[in-house]
């Protein structure tokens, strides 16, 4: 247990280092983009005078390194800064969107993870039966359409034809929980369809991979029921890849949902990030990227620790 604790601390320290690296990379990448926030904001209407005036006003005439230093210094003091585009404090700008993004991801995870694991186990249990084939084919079909396509089909069925659910998930200020739930249902369904297939297939593959092992063979010969073999003997050893794929998909639910946000007009962080990249609003891009990166690193570390904890061989390495 002690080694696990040490690992955790080590991972978190590394995570902070990674965050810093991400901040540097994003800063450099946005800096390399053609044009800057002044040109992007003024667009076709830009004239050399207004661009120069805006640059001076936003402090863009300061060298990039200084700006990065100032930004990092403020961040260390808990200040995310203000948006270059509209001067709003970034903390205020992202607070509600962050909540939206996380609640959507949580709902989608709540639906998709249990379903995926259950279906994966069932598929492994009844492998090569018609049930397995049906499950497999429908999972593959669901995953083989682009997200926006799945979303439009769901909208066609549930919003346009049946009129059960709203086609857009705009949330009025002060909406009740029930309302939020109703409005989030279609995006949650879309996201679940997209992530279930991969998690399910990985669960099935990891389990089946182990079923050929001698120790499973032995268990089988001893006459243990197939269900018991899977749950007691195969599943614990298949946990590592399953946990990994679940963690990746959870991270995806937080950071990768721009397209679903756009289609359902859901005010999450992804849209903010894309808009800010287009406008070269570096502080906002930085803030969003860091939140995404932190989410990913946390999930990733959790997955690593869990998969080590689940494997006695990794817990107690020989030598």
């Amino acid at each position: 247990m002690n080694s696990l604790y040490k690992l955790l601390v080590q991972r978190l320290a590394l995570g902070l280092l990674s965050l810093f690296a991400v901040a540097v990379i994003i800063f450099l990448a946005v800096g390399m983009l053609p044009g800057d926030v002044a040109e992007a904001m003024l667009g076709q209407a830009a004239t050399p005078e207004t661009v120069a005036a805006l640059r001076a006003q936003l402090g863009l005439d300061v060298p990039a390194l200084t700006r990065f230093g100032q930004w990092a210094w403020h961040l260390l003091h808990g200040d995310l800064g203000v948006s270059l585009a509209n001067q709003r404090p970034i903390a205020e700008l992202i607070a509600s969107r962050l909540a939206n993004t996380f609640s959507l991801a949580a709902l989608a995870a709540l639906v998709s993870v249990p379903v995926a694991l259950l279906l994966g186990i069932l598929a492994a249990l009844y492998r090569n039966s018609w049930f397995d084939r049906l499950l497999n084919t429908s999972a593959l079909s669901a995953v083989s359409f682009p997200e926006f396509f799945v979303a439009y089909i769901l909208i066609l069925v549930f919003a346009v034809k049946l009129n059960w659910l709203p086609s857009i998930s705009n949330l009025a200020p002060g909406a009740s929980f029930g309302e939020v739930l109703e409005r989030s249902l279609l995006p949650v369904l879309t996201l679940s369809l997209v992530v279930v297939a991969q998690m399910m297939r990985m669960t099935r593959a990891a389990l089946i991979n182990l079923l050929a092992s001698p120790y499973i063979e032995m268990a089988r010969l001893k006459g243990i029921s197939p269900a018991r073999i899977i749950f007691r003997h195969a599943l614990p050893n298949a946990l590592a890849p399953i946990i990994n794929v679940v963690a990746l998909n959870l991270a995806y639910l937080v950071v990768g949902v721009v397209v679903v946000e756009v289609v359902f007009v859901y005010p999450g962080l992804g849209q903010l990030l894309v808009d800010s990249v287009a406008k070269r609003d570096i502080p906002v891009v930085q803030a969003c990227s860091l939140i995404f990166a932190a989410t990913y690193i946390l999930l990733n570390t959790t997955a690593d620790v869990l998969s080590i904890a689940s494997n006695p061989r990794l817990m107690h390495p020989k030598g």
């Binding site: 667009g43 209407a45 005036a53 926006f148 439009y152 346009v160 756009v262 007009v265 808009d275």
Partner: protein, 533 residues
């Protein structure tokens, strides 16, 4: 019924005939401000049949961004234009017929050389916070866009203004560098919203205006909530009790929201779907013709295009009808290589329409001393949806004339700062202007900020200056006619298309029948002009 009216108004525009009565009216309106005391000012507002009060107007609009701000100088797209047009008023308003009528100004007077403009403010107008409008508010609001430090989008529009000052409580005087008989149109620009002055500077932060709706909430890139003020000074306007604007960037999401009844009005309808939407009896399509035009600018000072014969060859090598059908699905009009839209009161209706003629194109190539031509066209959909498609079609058409166009797709990101006006041959667009002077001044005059072809035609520049101060309307029109011909036959821009703005509304909301023939969504003023059915 209402649609019939719409068709009639539209037909008048389609005929291409300038509407003489309106033309006369606006000419006198500009010259003799006293005419408004004869009860004329209400004409623009009183033509509604029987507007119903109450209800909520829900709009799903493209053109909202998380980077939007309350600062009028930064308003850059439909979402802020439409929303803030309901919160604020301007000195003048563009009426449904396209003429400038008084709004916060009660009337205006101008000096004989059209250089000094005096606006007398309407009395008893209050802001949402109870403050009474006075001349200082107007001066501060205008100055917000002026000065070296200004980054306002309206800075160029106000380029003429040498000085703006208050005279007493209700008079504002503009001194221009040179006469401009169209200045009443300039101050109607939505960027020039009148805000309350606080310590001598315009207070845009509070979102307080004189308009019919008070700003209840604004989450940039997401939504804006508006609430009717009970004491709006303008009679017969602002019927909805409240209005909701949702920023919906995805075209399909907008259409879905309208079809499923979550919003009442959407803009920028995906043209592919217009025919399908028309089949829905609960919906109506609102087409605003000539709202913008697409161009292929050729830099007239580049080695490749400095010979006008080359430019003329390319102008003859494009099939405008085909482009109209495939890029705009018919929702637009063909252009004649000048920027004045068909149906505008300034159009030169006797100017012959240029047609696709590969033989003529070859003739001009020979005039230029070449047999064939190879040019590179740097295209991007940043200019307009379908710009790359249009370029590909152009390439196919020009091949018939022995012209090989190499279409290079440029990234949309940064197109206008890095490619446009820097590379010899690109794709571009302009929002059409209400006045010929504005259009020519910003895009075709020598040295203009957006003279996208670097065109410098002495005769054209002389005419532009002369027309700006010319009080005699027919004489002025003659000048504009000649300028259009100059653009067509010597200018650097191919103007193949005028695109319509296509919006759609649910029949739950309605309007008097005639919507403004400029801008989108009833001249961006639907919130105060429409009502629930």
């Amino acid at each position: 019924m209402s649609d019939n009216n719409n068709k009639i108004t539209q037909a008048m525009h389609d005929s291409g005939l300038p509407r003489r009565d309106f033309l006369k009216f606006s000419a006198t309106a500009a010259a003799v401000a006293g005419a408004f005391s004869l009860g004329l000012p209400m004409r623009g507002w009183a033509e509604e049949t029987s507007p119903k009060a109450g209800g909520v107007l829900r709009m799903g609009l493209a053109g909202g961004s998380t980077t939007d701000s309350r600062d009028p100088g930064t308003w850059a797209d439909t979402f802020t234009f439409v929303g803030f047009s309901a919160v604020y008023n301007t000195l003048s308003e563009i009426a449904v017929d396209g003429s400038a009528i008084p709004e916060l100004a009660e009337r205006w007077e101008l000096s004989p050389d059209a250089r000094i403009w005096t606006f007398i403010l309407r009395k008893g107008v209050t802001f949402h916070n109870g403050k009474t409008l006075d001349a200082n508010d107007v001066v501060a609001s205008i100055q917000h866009h002026l000065g070296d430090k200004s980054t306002s989008a309206a800075k160029t529009v106000l380029g003429d203004v040498a000085q703006v000052r208050a005279e007493g409580n209700d008079t504002v005087v503009f001194e221009l560098h040179s006469g401009n008989v169209d200045f009443a149109y300039v101050v109607a620009d939505y960027h020039l919203a009148i805000m309350p002055a606080k310590d001598g500077v315009a207070d845009w932060q509070s979102g307080v205006g004189t308009g019919g709706y008070r700003l209840k909430g604004f989450e940039p890139g997401v939504r804006m909530d508006l609430e009717r003020r009970p004491d709006y000074w303008k009679a017969g306007r602002a019927h909805f009790a409240s209005a909701e604007l949702l920023a919906i960037a995805d075209g399909a999401a907008r259409v879905n929201a309208l079809v499923t009844g979550q919003v009442d009005v959407i803009n920028k309808v995906d043209l592919k779907t217009v025919a399908l939407l028309k089949r829905n009896p609960n919906l109506a399509i609102e087409e605003t013709k000539g709202a913008q035009h697409y161009t292929f600018p050729m830099l007239t000072d580049s080695t490749q295009f400095q010979d006008n014969n080359i430019r003329l060859a390319l102008k003859h090598a494009i099939n405008r009808e085909t482009l109209l059908a495939s890029v705009l699905y018919g929702y637009g009009q063909i252009g004649n290589d000048h920027p004045i839209q068909p149906g505008s009161r300034f159009i030169n209706s006797s100017l012959e329409q240029r047609a696709y003629d590969p033989d003529k194109a070859r003739f001009y190539l020979r005039q230029a001393g070449v047999d064939s031509l190879k040019v590179r066209l740097q295209a991007s959909d940043a200019a307009y949806t379908g710009a790359v498609d249009a370029s590909v079609l152009f390439k196919e058409q020009a091949r018939q004339a022995g012209i090989d166009i190499d279409v290079v797709r440029e990234p949309a990101d940064g197109f206008f700062s890095n490619v446009w006006m820097k590379q010899p041959f690109t794709t571009s667009f302009f929002y059409s202007s209400l006045t010929a002077d504005r259009m020519f001044s910003i895009g075709y005059a020598k040295g203009a900020a957006w003279n996208e072809t670097h065109w410098d035609n002495t005769r054209f520049n002389e005419l532009l200056n002369a027309a700006r101060g010319e009080m005699n309307a027919p004489l002025r029109q003659e000048m504009y006619n000649e300028m259009q011909a100059l653009c067509r036959d010597d200018g650097g821009a191919i103007v193949p298309l005028f695109a319509s703005s296509v919006a759609a509304r649910s029949r739950r909301v309605t309007h008097g029948g005639g919507t403004a023939p400029y801008g989108e969504l009833d001249g961006l003023r639907l919130i105060e002009r429409w009502w629930q059915a």
